[in-house]
Amino acid sequence: MKMKSILALVLALVLCTVSFAAFAEDDSLQKVLDKKQLILGFDASFPPMGFTDENGGYVGFDIDVAKEVAARLGVELVLQPIDWSAKDLELNGGNIDCIWNGMTATPERAESMSLSIPYLNNAQVLVVLADSAVKTIADMAGKTLALQSGSSAADAVAANADLLASLKSAPVEYADNTLALLDLDNGGVDAVAMDVIVANYYIAKKGANYRVLDEQLAPEQYAVGFRKADVALTDAVNATLVEMAKDGKLAAISTEWFGSDVTIVAAQ
């Protein structure tokens, strides 16, 4: 009997030490609190999530939410524009602490990064001119479309084999959504595949010359990306987002940018 209780005691001690060691290794949250800064990496040309306003300042829905989260954690938010295609290098190299810029949560990204809880619903949609005959995805047969290269729109179109096969030619890839929409304006293509959130921003900004098809290409969710090992930091940000959803701050920021509360944190 005595042996058993000694064994149990030793086992308990070992477990305590091991779990203590695991906690001690993940000092991601502590590091941020110590240097009193959370460095946010974003592509400064992605309205309305994070972009440059006419005075050269950085604004956006994600920026506002991140500012609030940082304030609640007691740290300063440092905005660091990055090149989107280099985001993994910037994150893993320690130049930024998180990627917070309307980043789509995908299984691949969940493997290489620590993702937060999803906070916004998005979808890849087709944008056409207001007077276009195209009403559904099936109407795209024999037509052309443009998209931003390397974006989730490119992935969504590639995944939709029927659409891809029915197009007149391969999708035209542009460096920018603005250029893709310009091609649409000029009649160079019949539709543009892009995020519905960005599409609505441009429609609100440039007038109702465009129409978004009701039928979506692919639904998706936005999440914040952290280094794979930074679980403590991810958990802290998650907790803060939930807190903000509960006390209505998140809804307020959403209404300011989108006219209503479209966040999904509260629903979890």
Partner: protein, 220 residues
Amino acid sequence: MQYLNDPNLLWKLLMQLASGMGTSLSIFFFTLLFSLPLGMAVALGRMSKRRWISAPVSFYILIMRGTPLMLQLFTVYFFLPKLVGPIPRLQSTLIAFSLNYAAYFAEIYRGGIMSIDRGQHEAAQVLGFTKAQTFLQIILPQTLKRVMLPISNEVITLVKDTSLATAIAVSELFLVAKNATSASGSVEPLFIAGLFYLAMNTVVTVFFNWLIKRFDYYRT
């Protein structure tokens, strides 16, 4: 025509583009400041009779001219810090650009030096000049006159290459224009930025035309 219709908005954009141009110009001037002399050193190394100098230098020139500048930029900014600690973005840009352009300038200098005919070397030898004196007082001045036009080519290319710094998010002219384009949904900022680049290169071209004329005091 968003910007052309709204003078206030246009002015704000021009201010932003001007500040971006300031960064582009600082990349431009500092890169030239480091790479022009470094290029001469590399050229001399390349022409050295000693294999243990000329072989590594040839390899360096091969790598710098043979790989994309953007890749070199990534390597300096993301991977060099693993060896020597964090390097800020602008400094990384200057290091990568200077090393790259030094290689190109080195080959231009080498071409110029080798094109000076043997008569000059022989005359100098006869007159009792040492090797160093020959190089500094006879060969080098003639070389610089000869290479001015090829150098001006590279300098003009450099003005436009500064836009590659956007790969590591340095806030120079092209990135500012790109952000403004995305925020406004209009491509005017990109075209206006193009005018800025054209203006810079016009200054460079005029300068070199003046310089070449100035040094055309005799024919060799």
